[in-house]
């Protein structure tokens, strides 16, 4: 991902989201990583709240973005994501049942 904003002037910041570490806090997910570019060696943190997760999926659901992904990745991405979604649901059920048992005991 490349980010430019007015305050950066002539700098473009490259961020490898695949290498970012993720921390969980009660109200947000925090992505942390390092931006390494000429003249730049900075830490960065991006906090994503509940609304941001929904909003971002809203952006991904845009037909322009979907057509772009289909063109670039084909059906393979859908297969990969289906696998991830199944894993996600299983993890959710597992974690959810744990939380329910703890709640019952309490």
């Amino acid at each position: 991902m490349l980010l430019w904003s007015k305050g950066l002037g002539r700098l473009l910041l490259p961020m490898d989201l695949g290498k970012a570490t993720v921390e969980v806090e009660p109200d947000k997910l925090i992505l942390k990583g390092r931006i390494v570019a000429p003249k730049v060696n900075w830490d960065y943190a991006a906090s994503m709240y509940e609304e941001d997760l929904k909003d971002f999926l809203g952006i991904l659901n845009d037909r322009v973005v979907i057509r772009y992904l289909v063109r670039e990745e084909g059906i393979h991405l859908l297969v990969q994501l289906m696998g991830l979604a199944c894993r996600f649901i299983l993890l959710f059920l597992k974690e959810g049942s744990k939380a329910w048992i703890i709640g019952r005991k309490a």
Partner: protein
């Protein structure tokens, strides 16, 4: 989304809104997208090749700055993986009142999968039709050659119309 990096110095984080309606979204070549904000530097920058998803807009107060983000397919995949990671599950399940969030995210993902599949089928069908029409043209050409019929010459339209002038 709150974004912070060392380069911001004493400033607090930038608040980047991700609401689709408040953003400009386009699929563009990286150079074309950056040319609008850094025209003099485009030639010197080492920009990635190919089309990218370009999100642009203004950050929310207190610091209102114009920003441009270029996202490649790999970046979008990384974000999708994050949205379905163990950490995201922990975030959703560990804290009360998040079941609604899970349902909403699941619905959005279902819409994404459906649209993705639809777009893929549409792409295949379009490509299929194109291939079929190319093949038909080739076959027509081959048939004519086999029959010894030369392709019709283009009929030229006379410069002046043959219809009587009023």
């Amino acid at each position: 989304m709150d974004y912070w990096s060392q380069g911001l110095g004493r400033r607090s984080a930038l608040n980047i809104g991700l609401v689709r309606e408040h953003l400009d979204l386009a699929i563009e070549d990286a150079r074309t997208a950056i040319r609008t904000v850094l025209p003099s530097l485009v030639a010197r920058l080492d920009l990635p090749e190919g089309e990218k998803v370009v999100l642009s807009g203004e950050t929310r107060p207190p610091i209102v700055w114009r920003y441009v983000t270029l996202l490649g397919a790999d970046d979008l995949k990384s974000i999708l993986r994050l949205a379905m990671s163990q950490e995201a599950v922990t975030f959703i399940t560990r804290f009360p009142g998040r079941k609604k969030l899970f349902v909403k995210l699941a619905c959005l993902m279902a819409i994404f999968f459906t649209r993705y599949l639809g777009a893929w089928i549409a792409q295949k069908v379009t490509l299929g039709f194109k291939e079929i029409s190319v093949q038909e043209k080739r076959n027509e050409g081959n048939d004519r050659r086999e029959r010894g019929v030369e392709p019709k010459e283009k009929t030229e339209i006379p410069a002046e119309s043959s219809f009587p002038q009023r």
